[in-house]
């Protein structure tokens, strides 16, 4: 009986002290994929070994609402500590001052080896000496093709053409047309099938750059330049003349064998696990002007409004150290040169041969992100309705592109 009297206070004491030392970091992500989450939880466990009592909770927010919800959380007084952030939002969030500068912590830790990160990859996340995010995924856009459909149409597959230096946008257009003519399938599917909606930039900008154009530079819109118009015209012809590209509103899912070619990022390769056709990877087609790869990025950021920015920065550093970046490389192409150059990286994905991984590696090394701007949401909202005018058979591409520039000029200042 007497002992019992001590038990309750003792339990309370233990509970209180564990509450005091138990800290939780909240980390927002947009992937609900089981494999991704178990990897992330693995990092949390590893971190807990270094810092007992610290746990990390990963909150999954669907990609479509991600920016809104994170903003609402930041504005709503219960900010997350860390989160993923996509490249399109980087300028907006950095300009708004809501991201913490982690440069000191990262540069001062010799083990971390900040210099290991490829400069181009960091570009978007740095302002002068300050670093506002560490990219965990630097993923070039690459070509996926359906080997069976190519064989059926008697065409040389893109990877062979690339080796011969003959894999150009024209070649892609012709191959797509041949496949579409000779089979039930489409020739080409735009990025994730969303080329006329959310991914219109992903679809058009690579071609535009290949022809020597650009979306905008130095505060001026360049989508109405002759190079850009030529590039967009090529794609327009694919949709309306060749009928080889999946048109707006149609389904032509490459990953279920309904299209011959698609352009998207490495991570989609997991969708091919159940594919009943032979497939391959190839680099992006080259244009008359440039060969620069286009990359999509996502970074880990620490939110300034969080209550535990120091601890959060520690976790960020832990998550993006050499060891863990190598682990993430299975799903997310790394920005660390040491990992990119390693044998382990080239064989990190069981579905992709080392040769194919080379394509990814070279894309990361030289790739440029899609056009970005602090006002990107407004630019996107103003441009997309005008882009929509492209998608009918008698659209005057040059005129539409001029109107796109008219619509977004004000926002580019």
């Amino acid at each position: 009986m007497k002992l019992a009297r001590f038990v309750l206070p003792a339990v309370l004491l233990v509970a209180l002290t564990s509450l005091a030392t138990a800290q939780q970091l909240r980390f927002t992500v947009w992937s609900g994929n089981e494999a991704h989450l178990s990897m992330l939880n693995g990092f949390a466990d590893g971190f807990a070994e270094m810092r007992p009592g610290v746990s990390v909770q990963f909150d999954v927010i669907p990609f479509g609402d991600y920016v809104q919800k994170v903003t609402l959380q930041l504005a709503g007084g219960n900010p997350p500590d860390l989160g993923w952030l996509a490249e399109a939002s980087a300028p907006t969030f950095i300009d708004a001052g809501v991201l913490a500068d982690v440069s000191d912590a990262l540069r001062n830790d010799p083990d971390y080896d900040f210099a290991d990160f490829s400069e181009p990859a960091l570009g978007l996340w740095e302002r002068g000496d300050a670093v506002y995010g560490v990219p965990f995924s630097t993923s070039p856009f690459i070509v996926y093709f359906n080997r069976d459909l190519f064989e059926q149409a008697g065409l040389t597959p893109p990877d062979v053409l690339a080796e011969q230096g003959a894999w150009t946008w024209e070649a892609l257009k012709e191959s797509a047309a041949a496949i579409a003519d000779g089979s039930d399938a489409f020739g080409f599917e735009s990025v994730d099938g969303e080329g006329y909606g959310a991914r219109v930039w992903h679809t058009l900008v690579p071609i535009v750059r290949g022809y020597g154009g650009e979306a905008w530079s130095d505060g001026a819109c360049r989508l109405d330049s002759p190079e850009a118009v030529e590039a967009v015209q090529l794609y327009h012809d694919m949709v309306y003349e060749d009928a080889s590209a999946v048109p707006p509103g149609e389904q032509g899912d490459f990953f279920t064998g309904r299209s011959g070619i698609t352009i998207t990022q490495l991570s989609r390769v997991s969708k091919l696990a159940e594919a009943d056709f032979d497939w391959g990877l190839a680099p992006m087609p080259s244009g008359p002007a440039e060969d620069v790869a286009v990359i999509g990025q996502a970074a880990v950021v620490v939110f300034e409004a969080g209550q535990q920015t120091e601890l959060a920065t520690e976790f960020l550093a832990y998550m993006t150290n050499k060891e863990n970046v190598a682990v993430m490389a299975e799903f997310f192409p790394p920005a660390r040169r040491s990992v990119l150059d390693s044998e382990a990286f080239l064989s990190s994905n069981p579905m992709v041969t080392p040769q194919q991984m080379e394509i990814v590696a070279s894309g990361i090394a030289g790739g440029r992100v899609l056009p970005n701007h602090p006002n990107f949401p407004q630019i996107d909202a103003a441009a997309r309705p005008v882009f929509d005018e492209l998608w009918n058979a008698d659209a005057d591409v040059a005129a539409v592109m001029t109107r796109v520039c008219d619509a977004i000029d004000a926002q580019l200042q």
């Binding site: 504005a75 809501v98 509103g249």
Partner: protein, 312 residues
């Protein structure tokens, strides 16, 4: 209330004068009145009037949700909306097209269905259930399914049309048809509710009216126009007001079906407000648009009341 005539033969028992109890009750009524409405009134002031005042204040500011920055800009937002920003007028136009398209179709269809189902025949209950089923479904679910069915060549709708030789348009992707598709699917979702209301009203009309008229030689259509329709006027007013006000608020349906496109063809005012507030984080401008929407709704409702008052 009713005066009971007292006959000399059977004098009515005198009721004790209730005046004392009634007077004190009436005095207490002031208190009771407020007591009864207090919960709703308090909540109303806190969650409706308060925010409305706040929104009016915000409409004169530039206020960013992400950065938290606030600047007073006077009438600049209103100026932007009416004079500088062309999107505003397009959105306003879309809003009116949407309402003008949806309301008559909805009301007419609801009345037609109610008339069809206002009789007893085997299966009438089943049909009433079927037409009401979309009302109880979530808008998200309804939009998801229809967005899938309205796809270009492979969408179910176009495949059915293909069976009868019609080449269906790319519904959600052509600026002209997208608005039609959005209106049509929204009508399908909600018409069941108005149908039930009309059914209830029709059932309250005594059969004798119609029977008497047909004995006099009136045809069905005449009975409908001269008797049924006027008797339904109060119901039609209620239905019209509800439907108009409801149509000005439609947001998630459009968000999920077309995302406001193509080429902003289906962007209505409420969606535009959402976009400004939650995608651009411009709370000030969103507030300005909200004030404008509120005024529009008030005016439209007032017009409807006045038209009805004048008619009766």
């Amino acid at each position: 209330m009713d005066q009971v005539p007292s006959t000399p033969a059977t004098p009515r028992p005198q009721k004790p004068p209730p005046r004392k109890g009634a007077r004190s009750l009436r005095a207490l009524d002031e208190i009771y009145g407020y007591l009864f409405v207090a919960p709703q009134l308090t909540g109303f002031l806190l969650f409706v009037i308060g925010p409305l005042v706040a929104v009016v204040i915000y409409s004169f500011q530039e206020r960013n949700l992400l950065t938290g920055a606030v600047t007073n800009v006077g009438l600049q937002n209103y100026n932007d909306a009416f004079f500088t920003n062309p999107t505003f007028w397009k959105v306003l136009g879309n809003t009116f097209v949407f309402t003008a398209g949806l309301v008559p179709v909805n009301i007419a269809l609801a009345l037609a269905l109610a008339l069809l189902l206002n009789r007893r025949f085997p299966g009438v209950t089943l049909f009433r259930t079927l037409f009401f089923a979309p009302v109880v479904t979530s808008a998200v679910a309804w939009a998801i399914v229809w967005r899938f069915m309205l796809q270009g060549e492979q969408g179910t709708v176009n495949q059915v049309l293909a069976l009868v030789g019609v080449d269906g348009p790319n519904w959600l992707r052509s600026p002209g048809w997208a608005m039609t598709a959005v209106i049509g699917t929204r009508v399908l979702k909600n018409v069941g509710l108005n149908m039930i209301i009309y059914l209830a009203a029709l059932q309250a009309i005594p059969r004798e009216y119609g029977e008497a008229a047909s004995i006099d030689g009136a045809g069905r259509w005449q009975i409908f126009r001269r008797i049924t329709l006027p008797l339904l006027a109060p119901t039609t007013l209620v239905v019209a007001v509800i439907t108009v006000v409801g149509s000005l608020k439609v947001f998630d349906h459009i968000l999920l079906m077309t995302g406001g496109g193509p080429a902003n063809a289906t962007m209505v005012l409420v969606y535009y407000i959402y976009q400004q507030a939650f995608e651009f984080f411009e709370i000030g401008y969103a507030a300005t648009l909200s004030v404008i929407l509120f005024v529009i709704t008030l005016v439209l409702t007032a017009i409807q009341w006045l038209v009805n008052a004048r008619r009766s």
